[in-house]
């Protein structure tokens, strides 16, 4: 499941300096994703997280993701 999230994020953030997906419990439904992308620079955190939610809309909607932590940064 981490691979699916990784792919979705990389597709949504093709120029990201870093995309990391951690399965926090090993159960395939509690994730911590980190995206470092210069497009975040200057964007409010709320909008940064919205972009990540947009990228993961499908696994969020179908219940694959039970819990999600997000870390976003605009600089590497």
């Amino acid at each position: 499941m981490s691979e699916r999230l990784q792919t979705l994020l990389q597709d949504a953030f093709p120029h990201a300096q870093d995309v990391e997906v951690v399965d926090r419990t090993g159960g395939g439904d509690h994730f911590h994703v980190t995206v470092v992308d210069s497009r975040f620079a200057g964007l409010p955190l709320l909008d940064q997280h919205r972009l990540v939610y947009d990228a993961l809309a499908e696994p969020l909607a179908d219940g694959t993701i039970h819990e999600l932590r997000i870390t976003t940064r605009g600089d590497a």
Binding site: L46, Y53, A57, L60, E67, R69, I70
Partner: protein, 130 residues
């Protein structure tokens, strides 16, 4: 718009600081909700909690209003501030206090009072949860 959606909207607009969480302020049922409440407590903010667990429709209607897919959701002065990660980060950088000051003046510092209300009760929309 459904009655429930109206009650959620009214709660967002009426409460200076409101956190939609899984559980109540006294018995939080989710780590992320707990992190959001901890962040609010760390700056001494009074807040109102709304438990989304009694009815899954609460969560659906809330997300339809806010366009934010996950719980918790923290609103200040009617505006979505974010979920657990954002509120925690804003608290750590001092921006949460700045946002509270900007939206609410000094009124949010009234003693760190906490309560949980229900939006599921049709007759009395802001019933306190015992």
């Amino acid at each position: 718009m459904s009655d429930l959606s109206d009650r959620i909207q009214q709660t967002i607009e009426a409460e200076p600081v409101v956190a939609f969480i899984k559980g109540t302020h006294e018995q939080c049922m989710c780590g992320n909700s707990e992190r959001a409440l901890h962040a609010l407590r760390s700056v001494g903010a009074s807040f109102t909690a709304v438990d989304v667990l009694p009815d899954p429709v609460i969560r659906q209607e809330l997300s339809a209003i806010s366009s934010w897919p996950t719980i918790p959701q923290v609103f200040v002065g009617g505006e979505l501030i974010g979920g657990a990660d954002i509120v925690q980060e804003l608290a750590a950088t001092g921006e949460l206090e700045a946002k509270l000051n900007e939206k609410l003046g000094d009124s949010w510092r009234n003693g760190g009072e906490e309560r949980t209300v229900s939006v599921a009760d049709r007759e009395n929309p802001l019933r306190l949860v015992p």
